[in-house]
Amino acid sequence: MSYSIPSSGALETARPPSALTEALRHSVRSPRVVIGGTIVIAMVICAVFAPQIAPNDPANQDLLNMLLPPMWAEGGSADYPFGTDSLGRCILSQMIYGARVALFVGFVAAIGATLLGTSLALFAGYFGGWIDRAISHLVDLWMSLPPVVLSVTLMVGFGTGVGNVILAIVLVDWTRFCRVVRSEVMVVARKDFVAAAKLLGFGHLRIILREILPSVTPLIITLFTLQVGIGIIVEAILSFVGLSVPADVPAWGQMIAQARNYMYQAPWGIVLPVLAMIVTVLGFNLLGEGLRVALDPRLRRRSI
């Protein structure tokens, strides 16, 4: 780190300068990225502008209009486009507000899992030896517990709440990043430009951050996108078990769990939040899959 070599810019220009623009060009042309991206942006807008978009206050209980069907069904009301739940709360408004919890947990947990998993992967893949063996053993150990069981157990220990849900997801899912990124780092670490950087006397940290990290960034972006979808599912599972947000906060998993008790009389109450969740996760999956191809020059060539 103490060396400061003025000619480091020369190394940067040695890389193909058009990689980013190239990737962007391919992303925009991929139908998956476009459709997935549109869904994701629409959901983010729902979450951010929930108070403006939602037709009703999601907590407001209209006890005269309980278990109302959607407006297109017989007996539906235009005041409640998707009907009401067992307490007379507007289902559409709850779904819109539910996007807040889902996306907040999904994004923050994915950032956490990416940071933890990637940093350990960079150390393991770059240094190798006992560091690599220790980290890989930890990953194997962690992965031998079924992920759902591990996250439920962690939540029982931590107690309920959004912060703890995020912590549990990070602690369960960092292994996914670590395993995949590590093997990619090991490949990159053997490349000539890394050897050149070592010969120039750059410090380890600088090589990891400036030489290796940019090469694995496309992979990390893809994994991150897929992880947001996984986080949304895990949050819903924990809500369903009653381990996530308090009962008065609208969340999709919670809506599903509550509507389950009335699903014979009012199946739309469970189907609609389930669909909201599937569409959102599908958006992230399409985006991730599309980016995987668009950001990887090797896959790009094969798909054309």
């Binding site: 998956r32 194997d140 150990l141 992965m143 031998s144 517990l145 079924p146 992920p147 759902v148 069981v149 591990l150 439920v152 157990t153 962690l154 939540m155 029982v156 220990g157 931590f158 107690g159 979808g229 599912i233 599972i237 369903f240 078990v241 009653g242 381990l243 599903i256 389950r260 699903m263 014979y264 199946p267 469970i270 189907v271 389930v274 969740m277 599937i278 996760v281 599908l282 999956n285 399409l286 899959e289």
Partner: protein, 338 residues
């Protein structure tokens, strides 16, 4: 071959022991971080602090956490996982009653998953490079976005409630006697020669097992497709083509067998994913397995039971991984000779 099988099994078992120990520590210490006092659940509301102290001593809760763990470990090794707080029964008895149900469900689920993914993977491979492949691929991404508990809700509503084709609650119809035996109903009813009951038990398994299978199969389809694509570039395929075998023969009698290995590896590594899915799927179908028991235990804050079930999930997953490793050796001639 037999010798190498024993070697693999011994090696895996030796590796599994420290893993189980470490995971038991993780589970034990994580659950001790619980903000609630376990005593509050045990004591009547009018207990005095002196009563609390007596119970605390009796349970060993006044000792250090490491000592508590060692006591728990000693008991666990002698087959005592403590008593469930909510059910007031030994945890091991509750587990013995419900683990076979979950294993039966998981195995049938796995069988369904293979019935879906082998044709699925072949179809994706067969249509490679066409527009149909693109459509199927998007379908697979859609399947990937639907976890098994959401499939469970759809299947229950569609085939159970609306169409009324299949039962969706419990293991058998109420009133049917569950026999003493292995706990695997599909085996027990055959042994007892009770065909009607056997069919009843199977019909109860269809929907929950299908939910697990639909959540799991997109993973298998993808691995099978990519290993088929890889195999299609191998020499033996070229040679078989030059020998004049038709494409169907090559795929079915050569490529599928070679693609089985990576697929089996994935199933072994991801079995925990399918197995963990039983938590919500069993709850949704009121199926009396350990997944359902775990959700009940969590809702009741039943620490000894949660701990015991988590441990059983972990040990079972490890055991399945070991079995898969052995299967891998059986199927892979290269490893067999080594």
């Amino acid at each position: 071959m037999f010798q190498s099988l024993i070697n693999v099994a011994a090696k895996r078992l030796a590796g599994a022991v420290p893993t189980v120990l470490l995971l038991s520590m993780v589970v034990f210490f994580v659950l001790r971080a619980l903000p609630a006092d376990p005593l509050a659940l045990l004591l009547p509301p009018n207990a005095t602090p002196a009563d609390a102290e007596v119970v605390r001593k009796a349970l060993g809760l006044d000792r250090s956490i490491v000592v508590q763990y060692l006591i728990w470990l000693r008991d666990a090794l002698s087959g005592d996982l403590g008593n469930s707080i909510a059910y007031r029964e030994p945890v091991t008895r509750l587990l013995a009653n419900s683990l076979p149900a979950t294993l039966e469900l998981s195995f049938i689920g796995l069988a369904f998953a293979l019935l879906i993914s082998i044709p699925g993977g072949l179809l994706l491979y067969g249509t490679r490079g066409t527009i149909i492949e693109n459509i199927l691929d998007v379908l697979v991404v859609c399947m990937l976005s639907i976890p098994s508990f959401l499939w469970a809700i759809f299947l229950l509503l569609g085939f159970g409630v609306m169409l009324g084709w299949l039962p969706f609650s419990g293991r058998v119809d109420p009133g049917i006697v569950i026999p003493d035996g292995t706990g695997f109903l599909l085996i027990d009813y055959i042994v007892a020669l009770q065909w009607g009951y056997w069919q009843n038990a199977l019909s109860h398994l269809v929907l929950p097992a299908m939910a697990l299978a639909l959540g799991f199969s997109p993973l298998v389809i993808r691995v099978l497709r990519s290993s088929l694509l890889e195999a299609s570039e191998d020499h033996y395929v070229t040679v078989a083509r030059q020998r004049g075998l038709n494409e169907r023969q090559i795929i079915l009698s050569h490529m599928l067998r070679n693609s089985a290995l990576p697929t089996i590896t994935l199933i072994g590594a991801q079995f925990g994913f399918l197995f963990g899915g039983t938590l919500l799927v069993e709850t949704i179908f009121s199926y009396p397995g350990i997944g359902n028991l775990m959700v009940q235990a969590v809702r009741n804050h039943d620490l000894p039971l949660i701990q015991g079930i988590a441990l059983v999930f972990c040990i079972t997953t490890l055991a399945i991984n070991t079995l898969v490793d052995i299967l891998y050796v059986v199927l892979n001639p290269k490893l067999r000779r080594a």
